[in-house]
């Protein structure tokens, strides 16, 4: 997020290039993510979706993770019983895995499909 806030989507001065696009000329599912994150941070969600259709869900994953770390840490410290703490950790694991799958399944699919396509 810091990286995306530092570089400007209007200037397009992002230093990282996509190797996949350089080699094949075709964009990969993660192309335009930096651009999209910058646009989301400046409130231009529609433009962000145009740059990368998965950008909003990936952004939300990282944002919610940041939020969850603070909130669940507070709950964890306040919970005195071991059972309650275990419940918080279990809930954290389940929510995080679910959010991760929702956000990153298209990327995982692409990587696995590309790898499988080599053989």
């Amino acid at each position: 997020m810091g990286y995306s806030a530092f570089f400007s989507p209007d200037l397009g001065n992002y230093p990282v290039v996509c190797i996949h696009e350089k080699l094949t000329g075709e964009p990969c599912p993660s192309c335009g993510l930096s651009h999209s994150f910058s646009l989301i941070l400046s409130g231009r969600t529609d433009e962000a979706l145009a740059w990368n259709e998965y950008s909003v869900r990936v952004f939300l994953f990282f944002f919610l993770q940041l939020l969850m770390r603070f909130v669940l840490s507070v709950f964890y410290i306040r919970a005195s019983a071991t059972r309650s703490r275990n419940a918080i950790v279990s809930a954290d694991i389940v929510i995080t895995i679910t959010l991760f799958l929702i956000a990153f399944i298209p990327f995982m699919e692409f990587v696995l499909r590309s790898f499988a396509g080599m053989f």
Binding site: I19, H20, S30, F107, F110, S114, F115
Partner: protein
Amino acid sequence: MEQYIDRSAQNLGVAALVTAIVTFVMSVIPCVGTLAIIPGIVAVILAIVGLTRATDQSRGLVIAALIIGTVAIMFSIAQWFFIGKIADKSDNWKEDIEGVFEDIKVDILNEIEKGDFSITIESGDEKVEIKTTVQDKKLQEKLEKLESGTKPDTLKK
């Protein structure tokens, strides 16, 4: 002493697990995943060191870190393989294109020697073919015959 070993193993386990999770998230993103191999190796080394010091209590944490780190490295290696394959393929394409141009060059030179040109331009369903004959040798023969006073074939009638 045992408590000290247990705590260091647990700390190593936590460090390995955090590194492994971050690496895993990185490794599934196309292109970025290629960079995940470095923190992945760090996570696995931390987990292995943690495993040597781990007691029964902290073993689960370290094993989880080891598994996640290994899977992340596998994803990263898969991306390296894929990119390597594309690079190889693109090199072949380059050679193929060069080969095609070389063939075209040879064909053109042969056609020039024969004196026959044929240029075909295709755009969708439309096709334009231009045929021309230079016939350098024939023209040269005609010129030589004219210069020597004999009538060329075309002027015989």
